[in-house]
Structures are given as structure tokens and as C-alpha cells.
């Protein structure tokens, strides 16, 4: 009896009747693969977004003046430009600030008499001691606040990273659930074919030979399920992701998924098949060891 993993001879296939799609295994694996790929894609997109945002604000700071009128803004800009390590200085026009506020407060909330702080975006050279820059600016522009943009977006980055780990945990949980389903399917198949196994054992079949029959059957089921789930997930990502791609790119300044991410997603169905096959083998061999 050959030990081929998937091919198997016609005679071997006849030993365990019941073709693919007759049990729940392919359907369970299809659903799990679909869910794993969607969640993994979301996790990868979140991780990328967090990375892009973190990278973008890594060297960016804001100098906030309580009042920029009377040439104070221009003086602060000049002072900032003269500080060592500051490579970019850009003041935010008051009109733009008021337009932003108007979105939150409404037209009545941005009357001329409402004091609006002045903001200056600063870009520091990599390796610059931000503390020293802040101290220098504090002396040059009394009353101004030196704020790291990283601190501003910190909670957002924290949430994105937490969601990324949540996605990882969900993928692992789904892998565990898939394994549990495969164990149940393997045990069910063993019960169904118990008499065949006993006869095979009785005339000299090894556990390895018996396990390979079940392993091959479950691997084929898993392949069909993973393929179906993978194709469905790819279509869903194209449909959903297609619309969100441009928006995500606008928000983060980069594509939500890179080439490496697509490779990871493409590997997930293969991983599901390998996992199902190994779990089935382990479950069958464990059960067979309880028989003399």
C-alpha cells in the first residue's frame, strides 16, 4: 500500500468511500478560511496604517501660540527657523484654522472675536534632541507650547496597534476552531470506518497506512474548502477594498496592503490545508494508538 499523501491509488480511495463535499469539513474550512483572510487583511491594513501614521509624525512637532496677532506668528516662525535641528517650518493660516473649527462649532462659533491660537508645524532632522529644541523655542517664544504630533496621535496609534493584535488573536482563534472541527471530523470518520480499520489492522496494516487514508481524505476536503473560502475572500476584498482603497490611501498616504501582505493572505488557505492535514493525522494516530 503506497504512502502517497494526496494522490492515492484507486484501490486506496475505495477503502474509505464517500467523496469530497459529503461531510462538513470542506464547508467549515471554507468559512474559516474566508473569515481568516478577511480578518487578516483588516489586521494587516491596520498595521500598515499605524506604521504609515507613526512614520509620518515621527519627526513632526507643533508650536502653539495663544495669540499670533501683531507679528507674533512671524516672529515665532523666524525664531523656529533659527533653532538648530529644525529643518522645516510652516505656519497654519488662520483662515484654515477657522475653517476647521467651523466644521465643529458651526458658522456662529467662529466669529472674529473668538480667539484662535496660532499653529506652526515643525519638522526636525532625524536624531535631533526634541527636548533641547523645545527648550530653545520656549525661551525664544514665551508662552508657546511645543507639542509632539506623536503624542497627539498616540491614542489613535495605540488603538490601531491593539486592533492589529486583536486581528492576530482572531486569526489564531479561528485556526484553533478549524483544528477542533477537523479533530471532530477525523473522529467521526474513524467511527464511521471503525470496522474497516479493525479489519485492516487485523491483517497487518500499520497505523501509518490507516492514518494516511484519513489524512488524504481530510486534506482533499480541506483543499476544496480552502480554495473556495480563499476565492470568496479575494473577491470580497476586491469589492470592499476597491472602494476603500482610495480613501485609505488618502488618509494614510500609502496603500493599505502591500505586496508582502498579499503574499501572506495568499498563504493563509495553504496554511489552513496544512493545519487541517496535520491535525487530522495527529487525531487519527492518537485514536489508533488506543486500539491494540
Amino acid at each position: 500500500m503506497s504512502v502517497s499523501l494526496l494522490a492515492g491509488t484507486e484501490a486506496e480511495r475505495r477503502l474509505l468511500p464517500g467523496g469530497t463535499l459529503r461531510g462538513p469539513t470542506p464547508y467549515v474550512i471554507a468559512i474559516m478560511t474566508f473569515a481568516m483572510m478577511i480578518v487578516a487583511a483588516a489586521g494587516l491594513a491596520l498595521a500598515n496604517a499605524a506604521g504609515i501614521v507613526a512614520g509620518a509624525v515621527e519627526h513632526r512637532y507643533v508650536l502653539q501660540l495663544p495669540d499670533g496677532s501683531g507679528g507674533k506668528l512671524e516672529a515665532a516662525v523666524r525664531a523656529a527657523q533659527s533653532v538648530r535641528g529644525v529643518t522645516g517650518v510652516e505656519s497654519v493660516p488662520e483662515a484654515e484654522l477657522r475653517r476647521t473649527l467651523e466644521k465643529w462649532l458651526g458658522p456662529g462659533g467662529v466669529a472674529e472675536e473668538l480667539p484662535v491660537p496660532a499653529l506652526i508645524h515643525l519638522e526636525l532632522a532625524p536624531g535631533t534632541n526634541a527636548g533641547q529644541v523645545g527648550t530653545s523655542l520656549g525661551r525664544a517664544v514665551p508662552g508657546a507650547r511645543f507639542i509632539a504630533e506623536q503624542a497627539t496621535v498616540g491614542p489613535l496609534l495605540g488603538s490601531l496597534r491593539a486592533l492589529r493584535w486583536l486581528a492576530v488573536a482572531l486569526v489564531l482563534l479561528m485556526a484553533a476552531a478549524t483544528s477542533a472541527a477537523v479533530v471532530l471530523a477525523a473522529r467521526g470518520a474513524l467511527d464511521t470506518h471503525r470496522s474497516t480499520i479493525e479489519i485492516m489492522h487485523g491483517i497487518g496494516a500499520t497505523d501509518e497506512q490507516v492514518a494516511l487514508l484519513f489524512q488524504r481524505k481530510i486534506a482533499l476536503d480541506a483543499m476544496v474548502g480552502a480554495l473556495a473560502g480563499g476565492v470568496a475572500a479575494a473577491l470580497a476584498l476586491l469589492v470592499i477594498g476597491g472602494g476603500g482603497l482610495a480613501l485609505a490611501s488618502d488618509l494614510t498616504g500609502g496603500p493599505p496592503l502591500g505586496a508582502g501582505d498579499f503574499v501572506i493572505l495568499a498563504l493563509l488557505p495553504i496554511a489552513a490545508v496544512v493545519l487541517a492535514t496535520l491535525v487530522a493525522r495527529f487525531a487519527v494516530l492518537s485514536a489508533l494508538h488506543k486500539i491494540i
Partner: protein
């Protein structure tokens, strides 16, 4: 030997089978014949005592060693134990496939064996469509196809007519002449009478009827441990 925590079904058994011997195992129903055969074809381990086969003590042999020994034993089960969804051909071919023979190597011997047991035209039939006698012949063909060193048969002629019983006995005798040790559990006295030189193992209430372990009609060469 006992099943679970029940009473011992076999006890104080001490005997040897000579290589190439022909043995009939007899005794009333419930005497332990099937249990003894199960020990012989390594389907069970003794709860105490020791069992040696092919010169090896297999009492506590690791289970991964057992398949190699089982392949040296042909078994005719009382309830046939054919695989219902396989054809008669595939059932008979199974021991050869398990031992790694290719389809080309299997085809000829299996056809020949099926012809020998009178089932040449039933090769593609599945067990549920075969009569009891036909199933028994398939089971016997499967047991002897790989020319085992030891053949263990539990009531092998229980479901066949007298003519087929004689034919099967002839098959066993022919195998025995080729060197196979035969152990047949049977109530059929005529079968025993038609096999000159065969020894008799009689069990009563789980023990040998002759507690000395001496078997009736010991043939030449008896006593050599298997």
C-alpha cells in the same frame, strides 16, 4: 485472559504449536476457542502469562511491531469481517496491497484464488450481495492469499455445504503441505476425521482438556516452538 474486569475466560494454558502442524481447536460453546484464536492472531494481549509466536515473545511487544507479525498470519474470522463496500476482488487483494504489492502483482493471484474458491464470476460483487457461504469463501481466500506462515480459522466451514467444506479443507491441507501451520476452530467432527495427522486442542471452560498440554495425535516434529 480476561475481558476488562470480568472473569478469566482462558487460564492455565500451556502448549506449543509445531511449525507446519495442523491443529483443530474444539470444545463446547463458551469454552474460549475464539478468545484463544484472538490471542494467536494478535488481536488481544493476555492479561497474564506469556505468548510466543515465530520465536518471539510478543506478550508485551510494542504495537508498532505487531503489523509485521500479523502479516505472517492469515485469519478467517467467524463473522467473516469482509469490508462491505469493497468487491470480493478488493477484499481478497487487501493483504497483498497492505504488504505493498502493486496492482500488476495482485491481479493474477487474486483471480486464481477466487477461481479456486469458486467465485471467479463474483469478483466484482460486494459482500452484501453474496450468500453466507460465498462470503465465507471470500474470507478464506483473503486469509490464504499471502500464503501465511500461520493460518487461524474460526469455524471456516460453518456456512458452506459439504462439498465446499471438503474443497476448503483440501485448500488448507495444500497450504499446510507448503509449510503453513494451520489452526482451525470447529465443531465439525467430520472435518477432523478427514484430516489424518492433525492434532486436537480441546478446550473446556477456558482450559485445556488435558492439563499436561499434550495434544492428541501429535505429529512428527511436534514440540518445536513456533
Amino acid at each position: 485472559m480476561r475481558y476488562g474486569t470480568g472473569a478469566e475466560v482462558l487460564r492455565d494454558l500451556d502448549f506449543r504449536l509445531a511449525k507446519g502442524g495442523f491443529y483443530f481447536l474444539t470444545g463446547p460453546s463458551g469454552a474460549g476457542k475464539t478468545s484463544l484464536l484472538q490471542l494467536l492472531y494478535l488481536a488481544r494481549r493476555p492479561s497474564r502469562g506469556r505468548i510466543q509466536l515465530f520465536g518471539q515473545d510478543l506478550t508485551d511487544a510494542p504495537r508498532d511491531m505487531l503489523p509485521d507479525y500479523r502479516r505472517r498470519i492469515g485469519v478467517v474470522f467467524q463473522d467473516f469481517r469482509l469490508i462491505r463496500h469493497l468487491s470480493a476482488f478488493d477484499n481478497v487483494a487487501l493483504p497483498l496491497r497492505i504488504s505493498g504489492r502493486s496492482d500488476a502483482e495482485i491481479e493474477g493471484p487474486v483471480r486464481e484464488m477466487l477461481a479456486w474458491v469458486g467465485l471467479a464470476d463474483r469478483a466484482s460483487a460486494r459482500p452484501p450481495t453474496l450468500s453466507g457461504g460465498e462470503q465465507q469463501r471470500v474470507a478464506i481466500a483473503r486469509a490464504v492469499i499471502s500464503q501465511p506462515e500461520l493460518l487461524v480459522a474460526d469455524e471456516p466451514t460453518g456456512n458452506v455445504d459439504a462439498e465446499m467444506a471438503a474443497r476448503l479443507l483440501h485448500l488448507f491441507t495444500a497450504l499446510n503441505r507448503l509449510g503453513t501451520t494451520i489452526v482451525v476452530a470447529t465443531h465439525d467432527i467430520s472435518l477432523i476425521a478427514r484430516t489424518p495427522g492433525a492434532q486436537l486442542i480441546r478446550l473446556e471452560k477456558g482450559s485445556l482438556a488435558d492439563p499436561t498440554g499434550n495434544l492428541r495425535n501429535p505429529p512428527v516434529g511436534a514440540g518445536q516452538p513456533k
